[in-house]
Amino acid sequence: MSDHPSPRAAELGVPAGYYDYPVVKRPVWTWEVPAYFWLGGLAGGAFLVSSAAELFGTDEDRLVARDGFVVAAAAALPCAPLLIKDLGNPQRFHHMLRIFKPLSPMNLGAWTLAAFTPVTLARAAAEAGRAGLLPGPLAAVARLLPRPLMNAAGSVLGAVLAGYSGVLLGATNIPLWAKSKLLGGVFMASAASSGVAAVMMAAARRRAPEKTLHKLSRLGTLATLGELAVLGAFLKQSGRAADPLVKNAFSVPFWAGAVGLGSLVPLVLEQVAGRRTGKFTRSLLTVSAVCSIAGSFCLRWTIFEAGKESAGDQAASFGLSRRTQA
């Protein structure tokens, strides 16, 4: 027992820590936080994909991009209310913006969301104006909006919004969130796959050309494979801190929801759909997209809740803070 944290305690046969009391506090956040991370990621991912389609795609791809911007705006809209609802004093939400302090990921995120939301709304309005959905004077204003500039700004802001949430959770002392440095990568990859899925869902319903649908489907497959790779590395690095996620309290929604429904089912459906054409393909890709989007929420929610559980794990906390990482 030479590696026992207290030789005296080891000799006496008593526990290493102070009873079984946690070392760190359990986070006070509730469901609004993972819901916001999920929608914010989806919005960022969808905006990025739509911008890429508009910049690099064919004329047909660009029609799909138009719907994508509307999807991004729709997902971004509930983000701020969710974030505000979770505050202890929601009427003081604007205190987030009384200073600019990028050292705090929470502050950086609040500014990013405050900038991203109007950009997505303006970008969606520009599409609505082009489609003739806005009344005369508004459509004239919407036509004046600089689309390439909005695409560039929105893509950067959307990517930050998609990734910072994982960094925010990682920059704490909660064992599951902090042990591995990959959580920001996991959330970014999940935002990418769900963003592609959201655009694909809209495209499939709006009778987009099959060629474009297949491009989105292939991109979705690659994003999902990337997500699985980063997630696997994250779990491997997390070790014992990941027990509440992979073994205990949240293992079922994690494996069945986040991994099975969110990644494996879409991978299979996209493979099947890739070899076919017609109405059946659209249905398959719609189902695949819905699974991917639902799985993306499961991933955020299970990692969030399992992290709260891991806060109660005294040994995992000690493992996080030992000089020689056990």
Binding site: A53, A171, K181, L216
Partner: protein
């Protein structure tokens, strides 16, 4: 221009910095009377936490929290066979460490958490919007948010203020004032550190070889959070008192975390560009 803005916004100049003050908690002198807990509750008008018995020695407080800013721990070290050899009872009054590099202060997005002119870390209650980010940031599990539906300062973050209000009037904090054995000492941090080194040498000379200081500028636990403005003399390894061996400062790994996230994001952007091919395609 800036001066006009300051006048218009009624922004006061910050108080001039004083010599940093803090706590030296010498656990070898603690008798577990909990006078510090009571004095703290009384002075700061903190509500009671209930009447539950933990079954863990005399510790029915459990942990520091939004309404508990001093917490006396009772560590019973005894052999299972009830032999009295080597048996001992360690007591320690835990408190916010007022870290030199405070994780809570760095995490705070509103600027509610500030460093006072006395070197302590303080939550401005009129600024805090209860975002809760300081709670998981603290490596010691000190700061907490009061319940949103509670009666005490609902939905805002709270912790030891190092009796900022008393210090403003030149008084020592309530816990230090109440401590009957001088286990809790308040004063100029450098003087306290010198005192602690002398006390440690004295204890070691008298055979208490497992005594150690926790939170000194030169010790391993200061590697990331810096020295602690509330530091301790312990009689066993830090983990026996639920103190982390090297408390982590989240900022230290933040750049790497952002970089990893950015790499994944850029990879995805590149894939998207390739997936949609050439404009002509």
């Amino acid at each position: 221009m800036i001066d006009a803005y300051r006048r218009f916004m009624n922004i006061e100049a910050p108080p001039a910095p004083q010599r940093p003050k803090g706590f030296f908690t010498d656990t070898s002198l603690c008798i577990g009377c909990k006078a510090c807990e009571v004095a703290c509750k009384q002075w700061n008008q903190l509500p009671a936490d209930g009447n539950e018995l933990s079954g863990n020695s005399y510790d029915n407080t459990g942990a520091l929290g939004a309404t508990t800013w001093r917490h006396v721990q009772f560590v019973e070290q005894a052999k299972a066979n009830n032999s009295r050899v080597g048996q001992r009872w360690l007591m320690m009054s835990d408190v916010c460490k007022h870290c030199a590099n405070a994780a809570c202060l760095e995490a705070c997005p509103t600027g509610a958490l500030v460093r006072t002119e006395f070197g302590s870390v303080y939550v401005q209650q009129d600024i805090c919007n209860g975002c809760g980010y300081c709670v998981p940031a603290c490596p010691f599990g000190v700061i907490d948010r009061a319940p949103k539906d509670g009666h005490f300062e609902a939905g805002r973050a709270h912790k030891c203020t190092l009796c900022y209000d008393r210090q403003k009037d030149g008084l020592e904090p309530a816990c230090a004032k109440a401590c009957p054995t001088d286990s809790i000492q308040f004063g100029d941090i450098e003087e306290l550190q010198a005192k602690a080194r002398r006390r440690l040498a004295d204890l070691r000379a008298r055979g208490e070889t497992s005594a150690r200081l926790y939170g000194m500028p030169e010790s391993t636990e200061a590697a990331e959070v810096g020295h602690l403005n509330a530091f301790f003399l312990l009689l066993d390894r830090p983990e026996v008192y639920n103190l982390p061996e090297v408390p982590r400062l989240p900022r230290k790994t933040m750049a790497q975390r952002y970089a990893i996230s950015a790499v994944v994001g850029l990879a995805f952007a590149a894939l998207s560009a390739v997936a949609f091919g050439r404009r002509s395609g």
